[in-house]
Structures are given as C-alpha cells and as structure tokens.
Subunit: 233 residues, 2 copies
DNA sequence: CAGTGGTCTAGACCACACA
DNA sequence: GTGTGGTCTAGACCACTGC
C-alpha cells in the first residue's frame, strides 16, 4: 500500500475500496470513524476525510453526521457524460466539421413550447434549424428555439455563419440545464436531411437551459444513423 | 458574499463563478494564483484550492502546475446520470416492479461476444434473458451474458427468482464499466416481449463491466416505448 | 447532549512544467 | 531553475442528528 514515504488520500481510498470489495466491510455495515482510520493508516484525519468524501461522491458509501459511515447496499453508480460542442465532438472523432444553416424565423412561442419551458403567452422566440456534418456526412440536425426576452442579442447574431449551439455557449452563460435522451422515428422531412429512411430509429437529445429561472433555450438534436453515446466509469 | 464570519469554499466558488460569468475573467484568460486569491478573500490557500479544484472537476476552469489556472473557452459540460438497479428505477417512478425470467443457457462464447469483451475461444458464458415490468407493463428486456470464468458462482444462482442485474450488483464488485446508449429498431421477437411493433424505435443501453482487466459481464437492455433518460446539471 | 462528519487554518514539502 | 498547483499535517471549531 505504500507508494512513497507519506500516505496519500489515494492510498487510503484504494485500501478502503479493497476492504469493501473483500467484504471486510460488507454492504450496509458501519465503517470505523475517521479518527480511528487515521490512526490505523498513520495519517491525518483530513487525508482520510478526503478519501471518504470522494467515495461518498461516487456513491460507494453513505455518510451522516453522528450516525457514521456505511457501505452502500446498492451503490448508485453515476455515469458521467461529456456534453461538448457538436463541432468539438466531430473533430475529436478525427472528422472534418461543416455547418449548414437551414432556416430562421421569429414567432410567438407555440403552445407546446410555452408549456415545455414555461413561457408567457406573448413571449417571442427565435427559431433556427441547421445541420452539422462530419466528413460531409449528416451527423446531427439541430432544431433550436431561443427565448428572445432572455437573449435579445440573439436577434442580431449571424446564424448563417455560426451555429446557435456555438453562439450560445460563447455568449450566454447558463446556471442550469436539463438534458434528456430518447429514441424516436425520423419523420419524412428529417429523413431527407439525415439521409435516412422515413420511420428509421434515431437518437434524440433534448436540452433546456435556464439562467436563474429564466428559460433561455430549448433544442432538439437528432443524430444520424448509428450514433452512440459512450462513457466509462 | 459573506454568509457567516468565516469564508467558505462555497463562497469562494460562487464569487469566482460570478466573475467568470461577468466576463471579469474572460474565457481563455489567466486567473490569479491561489495565494493571491486567498489574500484577497481573506482565507487560507487550502480553501481557495478546494473551490478551484471543484471548478476544475466540473470543467469550468483548467489548471496546470507552473502555467496557472485558465478559464475554459468551451467549458466541457458534464452530465451525470444515475445508473440504478432497474427495480429501483421502476420503484422510484412510483410503479410496482415485477421480474420475469425467460431463459438460461450455457454456451461457448459466440464470436461477436468474444470480440466485444475480449474472451478466449474456449471461454464459456452463461446467457440469461429476462423481463422487467412496471405496473405490469413491459419496461425493459434484459439480455445478459456472464463470463463463467470470472463468476463461477453465477452457475448456482437461481435466476428465476432474482434478476442477473440484481445478483451481480450484490455478489460481484467491478472496477470498471463501459456503458453506451443508442437507438435501434426492435426485431420481431423483442417486439412481442415489449408489446411494440416490429421495427419500432427503442432505446438501447449496452454495458460491459470488468474486474481488473477480467471481463465479467455484457448486457443489452432494451427499453419499452417512450423511455427517456433525463438529468439536470 | 454527545459523537461524527464538515470545514477552515497555517504551515510545509513536493512534483511538474515552463523558461 | 523557479513558480504554480497538489497534497499532507496538526489542530481547531462548527453543525447536524441520533440517542
């Protein structure tokens, strides 16, 4: 367990993980306190604290004041997915990126959108459609709605040159986002843009972002054939 | 900014975030060092360190020794998804859970599986198929392959009573997992189990887990109609 | 009320990466 | 080399919560 002369919080973490895996501290059981472990490992309590805090963040253990620390029975695993810019995503695949603008319009927010992101009946939205290509093959169709009240500057942005995705990240910080993934069938129009068949399954990502309770944007990203989202943990 | 008499790492974090949002430290710029900030905020360096470390973990800033800390130009956002037991997932929706065993067999690992998770040509696998229901409606079809070499105990488990999902979580720790999501069309057999139409899109989740380079299990989870995976960040 | 984790401090040394 | 972040320490006080 010694990697050097001093005990690192990583050593402590690994040792604890090992004991949990070895069922030395079985799921549901109470682990020793920080002070006790610090003495056993010959390190400061802060070191044990950091190790255990990280394990708690990862969902391996559960900590409560006064009650102590327990090994989680069903460790709720967390998978972390990176949410990059489409361009970054494509370029990191080693492919060339191309952006294509499709349409732009300004409308009263349609009812379904008002309901979805809590807009008033008189709020106007900027509606953009565009495509993202990887090596000139259709990669993603972006259907973007921007709340003009929250982002008046979007009116003057030139979305024929820069994608709304990229413009928003650069211009508008957000405090909160909701993202969801599902599978859906492409309709006839979408099928043409993505070079797919009408009714073919596609991976759909929907995103809403807010800046302090003020809805900024709603987007539907439809991915082309064969897209998969992968992560390790 | 003061929440009490002492400066918390949360205060520091919020203050830094505020300045980044206000473009006081624009994207790509070099931020002051830890010592300087600690002096400005009137707290210890460790406090600033923790604040900045968390911001770095969240992808907001980028830290390098000697080079200093910079605001990320394109903050790579991370979305965290919980990966619970199917049962837990269903119950937390307020629905009743039911498990149904379908089939069990022991075979030489098929070629596609050997290639997928790096098995030898003579390795045997336990193949289980089962269903998970929410309020008696089809929720998920689980197609599970277990590496017998890595998990000999699985041979004697009673998978007609407990789902492989649950058995594995309880019995076999893993050190690493890969998970991926995609959209696919249901084939004829799957359609019957999920009460869907042949060719209908469904959300597909694939998972591989390892224990120190030793592949343990591969699973395909096919979700029923309308499933969506959602998170906030 | 008392015990456990949560956090802050002040100081120290180390490791890495840039010049 | 030298400066910046990375980490450990020893000690202290606080806050929550179960008894």
């Amino acid at each position: 367990m010694l990697t050097g002369d001093k005990i690192s919080f990583r050593d402590v973490k690994n040792e604890i993980l090992g004991r949990i895996h070895a069922r030395e501290w079985p799921p549901g059981s109470l682990m020793p306190g920080e002070i006790e472990l610090a003495e056993e490992f010959g390190c400061a309590r802060a070191t044990v604290n950091r190790a255990m805090r990280e394990l708690a963040e990862e969902g391996i253990i559960d900590r409560k004041r006064k009650a102590g620390t327990r090994v989680n029975i069903a460790p709720v695993r967390h998978a972390k997915f990176e949410i990059p810019l489409v361009r970054t995503e494509i370029e990191s695949l080693g492919a060339s990126y191309r952006y294509a603008f499709i349409s732009r319009s300004i409308d009263l927010a349609p009812d379904w959108l008002r309901a979805r992101i809590c807009l008033g009946p008189d709020d106007q939205v900027l509606h953009i459609e565009c495509m993202h290509y990887a090596n000139n093959a259709p990669f993603q169709f972006e259907d973007r709605w921007i709340n003009i009240t929250a982002a008046p500057k979007s009116m003057t942005a030139d979305f024929s040159a820069i994608s709304p995705n990229e413009w928003l990240v650069a211009e508008l910080p957000f405090s909160e986002a909701e993202i969801s993934f599902s599978a859906s069938a492409v309709d006839e129009r979408l099928a043409r843009f993505l070079s797919m068949y009408h009714g073919e399954p596609h991976f759909l990502s929907e995103r809403v972002t807010w800046l302090k309770d003020l809805p900024i944007t709603f987007a539907q990203m439809s991915y082309g054939r064969g897209y998969r989202m992968t992560t390790r943990y």
